[in-house]
């Protein structure tokens, strides 16, 4: 129930991600009229994604899943369009009931960490989704902090004098692995897992891999009964990492049939720098800049950044007082850089 804790609209990286994803959906017109897609998501009480996709893409068939039955009247009050069909139940109860044989965009924007239910949602949807459909999941991928591990070790030993005791690499690995095994079963964890896969840098990649395995496995089973031309592939489009607090990962892609592979290539998703088929995630970093700095950066952006190579050029003199890594981060997302202002209604 994170809407009571956080206002979704004020998460800058999330805002940027939503705008990027909206832009990338325009490429779906290679497959179908975008307005023919149905959108299935978790609208909460803010419905930010619903408003974006409705207004920018013209999607009118929309389904929002809300697990908190207590919020029913509040959610209904905040629903921005009457075309949004509300389902008050958990996603694992609602998704199997939905008809997915029309082109669909499903964004499972979980607040929490990976769980058995998330994986089951992915396999349910993948075994039903029509070709040309998009499936995405957003999860908290924050690795267990080693400070917490050290504290836990201390409690087990009952040592009152030291707050932190030293823990070895192996103990950190075992501890983190145990946490993951509690979230999902060990049958879902790749057999070749190593300590580095569970570190803050490794975990997003590992979780992306677990999600992809689940998707592929559901499609493989589905393919057993299909002809060569109908054969279904998962093409990864989104592997996006950001931090508005905890580390978050959005992983997803499009399901295409064998006879749509050419269409997929011609849609050219990967000309968008934030769409990637790679294992390394695209990282949204939001530099903290004043409005004056933003205006300055925009005026110098072509001098500072090579949009072909996606790399920094020599820093122009007027920008010298801004950190070069911040200039790079800004250049990567400047089209989507959010502006928050207070307004009094």
């Amino acid at each position: 129930m994170s809407f009571r804790k956080i206002n979704y609209k004020l998460r800058p990286a999330k805002t940027v991600e939503r705008k990027m994803i909206t832009e990338s959906f325009r490429k779906l017109s290679a497959f179908n009229h975008i307005s023919d897609y149905q959108y299935i998501g978790f609208g909460s009480i803010y419905f930010v994604d619903f408003v974006l996709f409705h207004k920018h893409l013209g999607i009118k068939k929309m389904i929002s899943i809300e697990k908190d039955a207590n919020a029913q009247s509040r959610v209904e009050f905040n629903k921005p369009f009457s075309c949004i069909d509300m389902h008050f139940d958990t996603s694992s109860n609602v998704l199997p009931k939905l008809e997915l044989d029309r082109p669909s965009i499903i964004w499972l924007d979980y607040d929490g960490k990976l769980s058995t239910d998330c994986l089951s949602d992915l396999s349910t949807t993948c075994s039903n989704l029509a070709p040309g459909s998009v499936l995405m999941a957003t999860l908290n991928v924050q690795a267990e902090s080693i400070i917490n591990i050290a504290k836990d070790e201390k409690q087990e030993e009952g040592d009152d004098d030291e707050i932190y005791v030293s823990v070895g690499k192996e103990e950190i690995f075992e501890h983190r692995l145990k946490i993951l095994e509690e979230q999902i079963s060990r049958y879902k964890i790749p057999a070749d897992i190593e300590a580095k896969d569970l570190t803050p840098n490794g975990l997003p990649k590992l979780i992306a891999r677990i999600l992809e395995n689940e998707i592929s496995s559901a499609l493989d089973t589905r393919n057993l009964g299909l002809d060569d031309t109908e054969y279904l592939y998962f093409k990864q489009l989104y592997n996006i990492k950001y931090e508005d607090g905890a580390a978050m990962l959005t992983f997803g892609g499009i399901i295409v049939s064998a006879d749509q592979l050419d269409t997929f290539d011609s849609a050219n998703f990967f000309e968008l720098p934030y769409c990637t088929p790679e294992k390394d995630a695209f990282h949204i970093k939001i530099p903290n800049l004043t409005t004056k700095e933003v205006v300055l950066l925009d005026s110098q952006i072509h001098e500072a950044y090579d949009f072909k190579d996606l790399s920094l050029k020599a820093i122009p003199k007027p920008l010298k007082f801004i950190n070069s890594s911040e200039i790079k981060s800004y250049a990567e997302i400047y089209r989507f850089y959010p502006t928050f202002t207070e307004s009094i209604w």
Partner: protein
Amino acid sequence: MSNGKQENIDPATIEAHPTKEFFITMLTRDLSLKDAIGDLVDNCVDGARALSPDNYSGFEIFIDYDDTKFKIRDNCGGIDINTARNYAFRFGRPTGFTGVKGSVGQFGIGMKRSLFKIGKEFSIISNAEESSFKLDVDVEEWQKTSEWEFKLKDYTENKKNLQARGTEITIQKLNKDVKSDFNNSLFLTSLKADLELENTYPLSKGLTIKINNIPLKKRTLEFSYSEVIKPAFEEYKHGLVSVKIVAGVGEELLEDGGWYLFCNGRLVLGPEQTHITGWTGGRGTSDGGPKYHGQYMRFRGYVFFEADDASLLPWNTTKNGVDYDSAVFKQARQKMINIMKPVITFLNKMKEEREGDTSEKDMFLKKQMEGTQRVNVATILDSQANLAKYTTKIFQSPSPPLRPVPKPTDVTISYKIPKVDADRGKRHLNTTSNKALGEFSFKYFMEMEVDN
């Protein structure tokens, strides 16, 4: 030991012919007596199917046994002498043999294996349309000979047979375990129940089967149905196999809940309540739903695999299970899991309602269930019009009115502190109660440190 013959053997060659004894042991090893009898019945049913695919009335199968012999007799057409020569008594099915379309006997081992399982002496009398034969085999004598042959005793062929058509198999010198089962009166009960379930379809098409003169009853496979509670139906082709899946809710019977899998009308598995049909439990290899237990006893799912060539169907050779690794079954299983999930959700909600504080008269889902009527699966599958009337693509069930879940208002906090400190605290508060100290100190903390 040396003889002239041995010198001619290529020293690089290893003799690998199976002994007959080994062959018989391996063949019968995993076969239960009930499955062996079931297999013999399948052969009779195939005979009836060849003569009249859609209506079996008038066809009869009589099974009679006591502790000295077993006999199965039918009027289902008899075994043609060429079939006997080329197929029925050969081990394995010759390439190119075309059996009965949509048959249930396919592996080319069924009948022989069943005969070996039951006893050591068998006799077969068959009267087909234009041929007849009699075959007597003493298995112990046959084992001693080196030839892999059976000799027909009498036979006629290529002329109109005036005898009533049919097959009669008598088995004597019963194996020890078989004799003990035949002596057990409960065996008849469970054989009857198994054959009734396995042959649900042939029985519903008019076939008569009697065991020791007791007729088998046809079982009906039913769903609960109303305008708001409808079973889900899905139909598709996997290569040359056509598959139909129907799932929904039925009567509250613990032992009947689960999936039922049919191959060409023959039940091969069911009621199935394990991971095989998706009752995996939430964890582990968890690709399915919850494990089967009481609250799901209303679940009913029926899967019908049909193919002209029965070897394409996902069953095992003893016909009491599925070929778990076959592509046909794997694909069906994924669809079964998808189709069952909304039913499971509905049954979970019924359980919540039963166990919640809802008064009997306010039980919305229970009332909805009471408003259903029963409908037979055969009726549902009978016509497109009935499919449209009784089924939907995804299981339909009404949603109860949403009721806010009351949140707990109070929680208990407990922790340990040194006794000396607690005693000092209590003296300061002028109390002897740990509880009072705890409550006071928490209240103090909230007032001083936490905003209101």
